[in-house]
Amino acid sequence: MGIDIKEVYKIAHLARLELSENEGITYSAELSKILDYFSMLNEVETSQIPPTFHPLTWDTPFREDEVKPFADREEILKNAPELWEGMFVVPKVVKAPQGS
């Protein structure tokens, strides 16, 4: 089962990764080979088998919904690439209004 370069770029976009042309070619070849290997799973009959998403299952643990202040807010914010007044700054996501 192959995965062509066009599809590699589609996946890269979904995963929010910029790819160079060379990377596109390499990943197409490598991923195709890996996907080929995965095809062995098709020989296993699983129509009656439930999936396992966690190796051990227990009831979802509940707790009281209490506020516990984190002591070191500054320590967390210190790791941010860009801050303004305690907020994370990102490139502008709204367009300027028409005619302005």
Binding site: V8, I11, F38, T52, P81
Partner: protein, 493 residues
């Protein structure tokens, strides 16, 4: 040669602890000796990403003060190393990734809180494959670690730094994480004990997530006793990890001593004796089976019929979970940011520059396996086969107490040997992966050496929450084998 009253190569946690308690050595001296060793040896081995002498010595001083004041702690004054995907407050956690190069941990991982409570001190953070994705430490975003038994070979991975540091006595033990063999395989390649506990036994709070249904934190030790002690300290229920189990665990160290003569029913999965098993691995494994019989255990062949699908299942599920977990690295809240013309471009450029090749490969693989049109064929299918793999083990444990297998199909391989072919690298985890898929406890015990002096390991697998039985058998075998694990390289230090 060192000028200390103790021989560093002879130290274990248990021995160092006795020396400290008897007042024959201080934690400060111990820390100094190990830091000196790191300075001399680590330029060759490259096990550490971060060492902070001042920090270590001040912790040691504090431990000595506490001891003088009559305070107790099961690891009081014992220097350890920690894999660099586990958070220690105020110090870097990089996951060996450029994307986290400047990240400072704002809080302690649960396991670190537990170690601190018992008085352990930290020498530094150890190297790994970026985000724990790899089997050789060659995927580190900074540099590969070398195998202390042969510098041309890999120490295994992903916790290669922790395993190499431990056998070099650059720290008397370590913590790593194991998603598909990342503790057991490097332990085997470096000749130390490494254990992946039952899923849920140790909280992952403060462990950087890779694949959440598979990740477990576990200890490396120079002996089974040290490993049991570290596990005993870090295990326990934590409300900050929703998968943390509420089970009463026995004292592992006590169980070892009580279980010296216990006889087990031990299963050998016939599917693990596959073609392509290295002859020296096979020979060593057969010797281990003879030894088990000699010790009075019952050994019988069992079958785990879905074994051959484990690698395929794992390399669908783990990348799928990783693709989701690693979505958080977007250049906004922490980590590397590369500017772009808009938000989307900033995301894409930050991630493209911050992540290394293997991490990107797995994110792509996982995104593909979860994407519309492929979810059922890949992710859901793999999750169903996972059920069958788990059932195989549950069936086997109706007949036997424990299973034994080799840890890796080959002895430590050469640097660069498998980097060109990702699939070959993936297949080197074939014996350790099924254990994570099923959530079982597994331990790697040093079991001998190849003719050229490379370490080999035996994997002991137990049923869920039978971590104590795994350790008990390991302890019996360790006593019977009485191997020394001092790489020639460190004898001259």
């Amino acid at each position: 040669m060192s000028t200390y009253s103790f021989d560093v190569n002879e130290l274990t946690i248990a021995k160092a602890f006795n020396l400290l308690e008897e007042g024959k050595v201080t934690s400060y001296e111990l820390a100094q000796a190990l830091l000196e060793r790191i300075k001399k040896l680590d330029p060759k081995i490259k096990a550490f990403l971060y060492v902070n002498e001042e920090w270590t010595l001040s912790q040691a001083k504090e431990a000595d003060e506490k001891r003088k004041n009559g305070e107790r702690g099961r690891l009081l004054g014992i220097p350890l190393s920690i894999k660099d995907n586990i958070l220690i407050k105020g110090h870097p956690t990089t996951c060996a990734s450029k994307i986290l190069q400047n990240y400072l941990a704002p809080y302690d991982a649960y396991v670190i809180t537990k170690l601190k409570k018992e008085g352990a001190i930290f020498l530094g953070k150890t190297n790994l494959d970026e985000f724990a994705m790899g089997s050789s430490t060659e995927n580190s975003g900074f540099f590969p670690t070398k195998n202390p038994w042969d510098l041309e070979r890999v120490p295994g991975g992903s916790s290669g730094g922790s395993a190499a540091a431990t056998v070099c006595r650059m720290g008397l033990g370590s913590l790593g994480s194991d998603t598909g063999g990342s503790i057991r395989q490097p332990a085997s390649f470096c000749g130390v004990v490494g254990m992946k506990p039952t899923y849920g036994l140790v909280s992952r709070f403060g462990l950087v997530a890779f694949a959440s249904s598979l990740d477990q934190i576990g200890p490396f030790g120079l002996t089974v006793e040290d490993t049991a002690l570290l596990l005993e300290v870090i295990a326990g229920h934590d409300t900050y990890d929703s998968t943390s189990a509420k089970v009463d665990m026995p004292s592992f160290t006590q169980r070892l001593k009580e279980g010296k003569k216990v006889k087990f029913k031990i299963g050998v999965p016939k599917e693990y004796l596959l073609d392509g098993l290295h002859p020296e691995v096979e020979q060593n494994f057969k010797e281990m089976l003879s030894l088990l019989i000699k010790l009075g255990h019952q050994v019988k062949e069992i079958s785990l019929p879905h074994t051959k699908y484990a690698v395929a299942v794992y390399y669908i599920i783990a990348p799928a979970e990783a693709a989701s977990n690693l979505a958080r690295y977007d250049g906004v809240k922490y980590g590397l940011r590369v500017e772009g013309r808009n938000l989307l471009e900033m995301y894409k450029k930050s991630r493209a520059h911050g992540f290394g090749r293997e991490v990107k490969r797995r994110i792509m693989l996982g995104t593909y396996a979860l994407s519309a049109g492929y979810y059922e064929a890949f992710y859901l299918k793999a999750s169903k086969v996972r059920t069958l793999i788990k059932q195989d083990f549950l069936e086997a444990f109706k007949e036997v107490d424990l299973l034994v297998t080799p840890v890796s199909p080959t002895p430590p391989f050469k640097l660069g040997e498998k980097t060109a072919d990702p699939l070959q690298m993936y297949l080197s985890d074939i014996f350790t992966i099924p254990v994570n898929l099923a959530g079982l406890p597994g331990l790697s015990l040093p079991s001998g050496y190849t003719q050229t002096g490379l370490p080999l390991g035996l994997q002991i697998i137990g049923a869920h929450f039978k971590d104590d039985l795994v350790l008990t058998l390991a302890y019996q075998l360790e006593k019977a084998l009485s191997l020394t694990n001092i790489p020639p390289l460190i004898k001259e230090v």
